[in-house]
């Protein structure tokens, strides 16, 4: 098979960001041995890790050069590097000044060596990445002043050679500094020193290079975003052969290089992810776009503000007995409590399995009209907690939300029925801005075809006000009920009085049941006990 032909046939469709995030989260957590690691996709920004926040920022695939498959491979190596940084480094500085840039460069080398001790299988991918990134590195002749020295140092130190020319004194400076840096890194590895120890040697390095520690470094993104430009398959083959010759004691350089360029170990993984992207496009939500439903797509959203871990923990604790099938009772009054004799007096010491009884399929519709704006964050936290709890109880559910965007009513899919609830659900919810009215009938109309195929037993609508189209809503609710779906409305009030009046209003909309809450954090409990009943 010709090396260049491998991925080209696959490049017609692209990977969905949520599919990428799913595998990236899994891999980064395993590689960094940190179960709290979160991956955030950002457009056009170089990979970066925030160790204290357990966040890895990665660009989207087209940040990288080459075909889709080649982009995926480079992206995966970037993920590996940032995961290694999370595992081995104690600090990551900004890349935009010389001091930070140099420290990070030395750390890159250190974590690469250490990382490969644990993840030996990454060797070939790192070579491939080096070959690709070499093509996108700037030619030294096109960089000037201090930046030239720093770029030259980074090239020479990390790879052992330079792209372009560096003359006389400058080259000597860079070579000496690079030898010194290599020594520092080896000492650190030998003696198990960490980032802080290396940081103490950066001033020396700065002096050797004859630059100012605060020199600002322009962000060096891959030289071209126009795919194909500056990227030549022959250059890549030559470059990789060169690296293989230097790094691996391979007997057959051509064969090894060909293997590296082909990347057949990962091809199947990439194809599976592509297939999965297509599958979710077809069965999940993309096809639903034809039905007027939309998917919140932005992936550079940090879901942590809407993720209230405390509330979720409390909620899970509350419903723990549903999963575990026994209940803890606390006696608050009476004589000295003897648990054994108490247990003997109980008619039924054990609960039968409650969790088996919640086999219901549920559809949830969240109102994001402008009136929600006031308590928006709290509302989102409560609904995320609700989803977490439903997932915890293994209930099959789907979540939609509606709002108005550029004067157009949008019905968003937060969690499609065929995907497991995950952090991407919180991301989707986090980016929906509360705005517009409450055109419930229109929304029910939009949801009708999808609901027909999902066939939920209960549809719960969370809303805070009167719908704008009273009679139409009544009609829609009735037509849903005719399909055998139990229609329930949960009114959200700002206070008790408000809640009562909303609950009262909802009664006239022919819902089977209507309830109301005055504290948003009660939403999950209310919904779940509703399902149980």
């Amino acid at each position: 098979m010709c090396a260049s032909s491998v991925p080209l046939g696959l490049s017609s469709t692209s990977l969905r960001n949520d599919i990428l995030l799913d595998i990236a989260t899994f891999l980064s957590r395993r590689w960094s041995n940190n179960n709290r690691a979160i991956v955030i996709l950002t457009k056009d920004k170089m990979p970066f890790v925030r160790i204290d926040k357990n966040q890895i920022m990665l660009p989207v695939l087209n940040y990288y050069l080459g075909t889709h498959f080649q982009q995926y491979r480079q992206w995966r190596v970037a993920l590996w590097f940032e995961s290694m940084r999370m595992y081995f480094s104690t600090k990551v500085m900004s890349y935009d000044h010389a001091f930070g840039f140099l420290l990070n460069t030395l750390e890159t080398k250190r974590i690469e060596i250490l990382g490969l001790q644990n993840w030996e299988g990454m060797v070939k991918e790192l070579i491939f990445n080096e070959g690709m990134s070499w093509l996108s590195r700037p030619l030294l002749n096109s960089v000037y002043g201090n930046n030239k020295i720093i770029e030259a140092f980074s090239q020479y130190f990390l790879t052992g050679y330079l792209k372009g020319e560096l003359f006389g004194n400058d080259f000597e400076k860079v070579r000496k500094a690079s030898d010194y840096a290599t020594e520092i890194v080896h000492d650190a590895i030998k003696n198990d020193y960490s980032t802080d120890w290396i940081e103490r040697h950066i001033p020396n390095l700065v002096k050797m290079l004859g630059i100012d520690a605060l020199t600002s470094i322009p962000i060096v993104a891959p030289i071209t975003r126009v795919r194909g430009l500056g990227m030549n398959q022959n250059d890549l083959v030559k470059q990789i052969e060169k690296i293989v010759r230097r790094k691996i004691k391979a007997t057959d350089i051509d064969e090894t290089s060909r293997e590296i360029i082909e990347g057949s170990d990962l091809l199947e993984e990439f194809e599976t992810l592509l297939k999965e992207s297509k599958r979710t496009e077809n069965k999940g939500y993309e096809s639903l776009e034809n039905l007027g439903l939309s998917v919140p797509e932005t992936m550079d959203i940090d879901p942590s503000p809407v993720y209230d871990a405390d509330l979720i923990r409390r909620l899970k604790a509350k419903f723990r007995d549903w999963r575990t099938a026994w209940i803890e009772r606390h006696e608050e009054a009476g004589e000295e409590f003897d648990p054994e004799s108490y247990v003997e007096t109980l008619p039924k010491n054990f609960l039968t399995d409650l969790r088996l009884s919640i086999k219901t399929k549920v559809a949830i519709l969240l109102d994001h009209s402008s009136s929600i704006e006031q308590g928006e964050l709290e509302y989102k936290r409560a609904t995320v907690a609700l989803c977490e709890a439903l997932d915890y109880l293994s209930i099959n559910f789907t979540v939609y939300a509606f709002s108005t965007e550029s004067r157009q009513v949008k019905c968003w899919i937060i969690k499609p029925p065929n995907l497991k609830w995950s952090v991407s659900g919180s991301r989707r919810l986090a980016q929906i801005r509360a705005s517009g009215g409450t055109p419930l009938a229109e929304i029910y109309g939009l949801l009708l075809p999808t609901t027909k195929s999902f066939k939920p037993e209960i549809m719960i609508t969370l809303t805070d006000g009167e719908p704008s189209d009273f009679d139409a809503v009544r009609e829609m609710v009735l037509s849903y009920r005719k399909m055998g779906i139990h229609m329930v409305a949960l009114g959200l009030g700002r206070n008790l009085n408000d809640a009562i009046s909303i609950g009262h209003n909802l009664k006239y909309l022919s819902y089977e049941r209507s309830l109301a809450v005055s504290r948003l954090e009660d939403i999950p409990k209310k919904v779940i006990s509703l399902l149980h009943n």
Partner: protein, 272 residues
């Protein structure tokens, strides 16, 4: 499901001194509970302990389908005569054997209730099935139970009053990597040239176990897989191939993406 295990030579590496704790529990007449994920050698530990004591092991492996009658016994019709065939609980109590309750937290509530009766301080059982006969346990009778963590399919929390019947609690987790290698060595020959590969397989298993513990994967490989991996290497498989056969393929049942996740771990751990 219910079986009496004869004493025989059992290969168990007691890496965290569990046997001495079980021994103490036995000597002071307390029941012991071993808590740990599957495939950590709980059953082998108990079998080893029984063989050291020279006692007969009465073991029950619990599941949702284990009925009261398995423990207590049933009436049968034999040549026109109704007779009562004793279950394993009753038998072990009479004989003063070592009763082993495996995966106790997979049992149904009614089964647990009946067990609870026998395990309390009186150590007796009233057989409503056999005209109210009272079975008193032989003074030599002892019980060891095991439970799996709640993340395992089909497990429930053990009710507190039953938990309190087992005041000696042992945690048996997966052993550290070097001990796991030692355990593998005890089960199959390990050539020096293969130590490196087996070490990597153990690292892979450890990673997958961690992922399963936080519910990112649905299955957590046990020590058995590490042993199978070593055996495959001995049979001539390459390390990568053996890892795919033993570890990755199992995940295909949860979809291709899950399988590829595990395969990616294999790709990044095993070089050529």
């Amino acid at each position: 499901m219910v079986k009496v295990v004869r004493v025989m030579e059992i290969n168990y590496l007691d890496w965290n001194n569990a046997i001495s704790v079980l021994d103490k529990a036995y000597k002071i007449g307390l029941f012991a509970l071993i808590i740990g994920p599957k495939g950590t050698g709980k059953t082998t530990l108990v079998r080893k302990f029984a063989s050291q004591l020279g006692k007969e092991l009465y073991s029950v492996n619990f599941s949702l389908r284990t009925r009261e009658s398995h423990l207590i016994g049933t009436k049968t019709l034999d040549r026109g005569q109704i007779s009562f065939v004793e279950g394993i609980l009753v038998k072990s109590m009479r004989d003063g054997g070592l009763l082993y309750l495996d995966e106790l937290n997979a049992a149904e509530a009614d089964v647990l209730l009946r067990l609870d009766e026998a395990l309390d301080d009186r150590r007796q059982l009233i057989l409503k099935e056999a005209e109210g006969q009272i079975i008193r346990a032989n003074h030599d009778w002892s019980v060891i139970a095991t439970i799996n963590p709640l993340s395992h399919v089909g497990t429930k929390e053990l009710p507190p009053q039953l938990l309190s019947r087992f005041p000696i609690r042992l945690r048996l987790d997966y052993p550290p990597e070097e001990i796991e290698l030692e355990i593998v060595r005890r089960h199959t020959e390990v050539d020096q040239s293969k130590v490196n590969d087996i070490g990597r397989a153990i690292k892979l298993a450890k990673n997958l176990r961690e992922a399963a513990a936080v519910e990112e994967l649905y299955y957590s490989p046990s020590l058995r897989e590490s042993i199978a991996f070593a055996k495959l290497l001995n049979a001539g498989s390459s390390a990568k191939e053996a890892a795919e056969i033993v570890y990755a393929n199992a995940y295909d049942q949860w979809g291709e993406v899950e399988y590829q996740k595990v395969k990616d771990m294999i790709t990044s751990i095993f070089g050529d």
